[in-house]
Point group: C2
Chain length 121, copies 2
């Protein structure tokens, strides 16, 4: 049911945690299962120099957030905003259709965190 990449990011998730003095923070909810996902970013010279996520969601939510944080780390704000839900699913070599609503949380929370950062500037 799940690709090796998904199982890897689920079993050893990257960038789990909070950033207390984050420059931007975005939380989105999954209406299907009630789970929340929060992404925190630290930005320096327009570049995401640290990023962490926190979720109580399922394996698909964990794997996609782990992947999206890896993809966004070191990117400029503009580059990071271009990461789509599909990019994340592709990087994980696919996700089962039943899990799409979980996996969309990651890209959405990243976008919300960046919007929050912009608002604060």
């Amino acid at each position: 049911m799940y690709t090796e990449k998904v199982m890897d990011h689920f079993s050893n998730p990257r960038n789990v945690g909070e950033i207390p003095d984050a420059d931007g923070e975005g939380t989105v909810g999954n209406p299907t299962c009630g789970d929340l996902m929060t992404i925190y970013i630290k930005v320096k010279d327009n570049v995401i120099e640290d990023i962490k996520f926190k979720t109580f969601g399922c394996g698909a939510a964990i794997a996609t957030s782990s992947m999206v944080t890896e993809m966004a780390m070191g990117k400029t704000i503009e580059e990071a905003l271009k990461i789509t839900r599909d990019d994340v699913a592709d990087a994980l070599e696919g996700l089962p259709p039943v899990k799409m609503h979980c996996s969309n949380l990651a890209a959405d929370a990243l976008e919300a965190a960046i919007e929050d950062y912009k608002k604060k500037q």
Copy 2:
């Protein structure tokens, strides 16, 4: 939203893994989100001497399975069968209503594992 007990069992889940030579194995699915939960048991002299779980489900699924494996460990088959969904939720000091479909997986998978064990005798 979640009690300290839930967060503890979510952050440090007990008895995660598989038992390759299990005496009983039970898998149940969550129709709401498509997640699966498997529980494995080793039984000696009618007592559950080892128990492990595996799930790709959410934090509530992880916390309840962690708790149910702790509750069942060392119990006789008959005692373990008496553990209800409510017992698990009570031991965790409550779960949000939106997560009940996830938390029911644990007691159901334990029952399925015991039924599997009985069938094999």
